[in-house]
């Protein structure tokens, strides 16, 4: 199943990001956005892992969400 996933650097001696991009593109993974230390990609989780192979210093993480700050009480249901 296609989903958004983050591929990101975790060590100082990680492989150059150009190599990560090359492997992902070769596997037909869609790169949504690229930053120096991370890439937002769209594709099947296993396919992304396979494309990266044993590349040094990069890992795959799911996209997560932090809720907006709530500083007020809220009614959740009517009486």
């Amino acid at each position: 199943m296609s989903e958004r996933i983050v591929v990101h650097r975790v060590t100082d001696d990680a492989e150059a990001d150009g190599e990560v991009t090359r492997r992902l593109k070769n596997a037909g993974i869609d790169i949504v956005e690229q930053q120096p230390n991370m890439l937002l990609v769209e594709g099947d989780h296993q396919a992304v892992r396979r494309a990266l192979g044993d590349i040094r210093g990069w890992v795959v993480s799911p996209v997560t969400e932090t809720p907006p700050p709530r500083t007020r009480e809220q009614v959740l249901k009517k009486p």
Binding site: H8, D12, M38, S61, T66, P69, P79
Partner: protein, 521 residues
């Protein structure tokens, strides 16, 4: 009779890796008798520690000590970390039979037999529809637009009604009758006024709510009490990144906002020009401006209000989108990376509630390796475990405290007063909403804190979101007056500043899991 402090087991290990020369210290050799540790502050008892086991000469040690002992060890061994001993269990699923609870409710009951079981339907008694409350200025009786009233008939289940006042000051609550009992009513004020709180009342009894204007120069405001004595240039030369909902750089008290970045990917990918939209998000965007004001608002000529460290330079990294949604880990990591690259010394993260996440942690690790200190809010879930990212050991995790009489007795802050109490004369308390736990490093002023709001306004807000920037502001002050620390580079700088911050904390007597090292003063 004094009770003996409870002991816990911890693993002492290097901050990075598995072995460290500091672990070879004679104090950490496994012996049967307890050893005495240094008291971490004046007036604090001298803790004891027992070294139970060691994996290797220079490797991790299993020790038993009190919470005071843990804090003492952390302060005297900044290159080491203490992790509570944890246990893992087999992942068996063993169903537990629960006794069926019988709930008695008022209302009309009907019984139906379904498949041998009796289903009880409860039909709520009909409630008369609609009532109104009028919100006015206490001094001149003028109606106030923009008050938000939240009235709970059943607080535990968050049942009730809510509404906003219009130009005539009237708030319509359509689901509540005039004489219906209201367990709790929260009246969130428009900018410039104190909010108000009522318990066990009715709309009839409330009828007209009179809100008092905030005096920005009131010396009893908590930030003024705690940090009013700091110099007007406190934090000079220090850059603080505010990772939040955006900051209003046009506010008269925030001329020190030097720029920032909109980090919301969904907005940037649609319009790359949106990168400069680091101001308040269009929905619920006031949070970041309030946070920024606590850190470093400057007194204008007309308005005496100022934050903890008015000398700082602020930068805004907006991660909450305009549509009011949550912040993705990709955008938070982008913000941390950008703020680090752009020279921020401190990062304020008054956000949390997402899961533990490798991406955010990797970005925080990079920031720390570059010499940055990351300060994060413990969360507002009411004594629940510390939320992420504050729960990462690498962050300075902040709980929220308040002080009685630093806000009006009928304000919402009254509902946040809870045990434990501490400080001078027991006037201080850890807010009812604050999360707590072993990851708490310090506490900060977080109840009814007056600060800046977008469009030139001011108002009071409560939360660990407010406690965190109070601590960040004080850390900025410390960095500003310690040039030797500022000149350090990399993780050493980050570590040294954290040590300074922790050493400045005064224990308030709340207990380790509530306040960590205490309140920075």
């Amino acid at each position: 009779m004094a009770t003996k402090p409870q002991t816990h087991r911890y693993v002492i290990m290097p901050k990075d890796g598995f072995e460290h020369p500091a672990l070879k210290d004679a104090l950490l050799a496994p012996i049967a008798r307890p050893v005495t540790l240094k008291a971490r502050a004046e007036g604090v008892s001298t803790p004891e520690m027992r070294v139970i086991d060691s994996i290797d000469d220079r490797g991790p040690k299993l020790v038993e000590t009190t919470s005071e002992g843990e804090l003492s060890l952390r302060l005297s061994n900044p290159e080491l970390k203490l992790v509570p001993e944890v246990f893992y269990y087999r992942l068996w699923y063993r169903p537990v039979l629960k006794e069926r609870q019988v709930v008695v409710r008022r209302g009309v009951k009907s019984r139906t037999k379904v498949g041998g079981r009796v289903k009880v339907a409860v039909k709520a008694a009909a409630i008369a529809a609609g009532t109104t409350i009028t919100v006015v200025d206490a001094k001149n009786g003028k109606p106030l637009r923009g008050a938000h009233v939240v009235a709970f008939t059943d607080y535990v289940n968050r049942a009730g009604d809510q509404g906003d006042s219009g130009a005539n000051g009237v708030v319509s609550l359509r689901s509540i009758s005039a004489r219906q009992r209201l367990e709790r009513v929260y009246i969130y004020a428009p900018p410039g006024y104190w909010d108000q709180y009522k318990a066990d009342t009715t709309a009839t009894a409330l009828k007209t709510v009179k809100l008092r204007a905030i005096d920005l120069e009131d010396p009893t405001l908590l930030l003024h009490q705690l940090y009013g004595g700091l110099p007007a240039n406190a934090g000079e030369g220090v850059v603080v990144g505010v990772i939040d909902s955006g900051v209003d750089g046009h506010h008269p008290n925030l001329p020190n906002v030097a720029g920032g970045l909109n980090c919301v990917g969904d907005e940037l990918r649609t319009d790359p020009g949106a990168a400069t939209e680091w101001g308040p998000a269009k929905t619920e965007g006031e949070h970041g401006t309030h946070v920024a004001g606590i850190i470093g608002a400057q007194s204008g000529n007309e308005q005496g209000f100022h934050g903890v460290a008015p000398g700082v330079t602020l930068r805004s990294y907006r991660v909450f989108p305009n549509d009011g949604g949550g912040a993705s880990n990709f955008d938070i990591a982008r913000a941390i990376d950008a703020a680090t690259r752009e020279g921020c010394d401190l990062l304020n993260m008054s956000l949390g509630g997402g899961p533990a996440d490798d991406l955010t942690k990797a970005a925080i690790d990079r920031a720390i390796a570059a010499g940055v200190v990351v300060i994060a809010a413990a969360g507002n879930d009411g004594r629940q475990p510390v939320s992420y990212p504050a729960a990462f050991a690498e962050c300075v995790s902040v709980s929220a405290m308040g002080r009685k009489k630093s806000f009006p007795t009928d304000s919402i802050g009254t509902s946040d007063i809870a045990k434990p109490t501490g400080g001078q004369n027991g006037q201080d308390f850890i807010a009812d909403f604050s999360n707590i736990g072993s990851q708490i490093d310090c506490t900060g002023a977080g109840v009814e804190i007056v600060s800046t709001l977008p469009d030139g306004g001011h108002g009071a807000m409560s939360g660990t979101s407010m406690a965190t920037p109070a601590v960040t502001g004080f850390a900025a002050y410390l960095l500003g007056v310690n040039p030797a620390v500022k000149e350090l580079a990399g993780a050493d700088r980050s570590r040294k500043l954290k040590e300074l911050l922790y050493a400045s904390c005064k224990p308030e007597g709340f207990g380790r899991d509530y306040e960590g090292f205490g309140l920075p003063l």
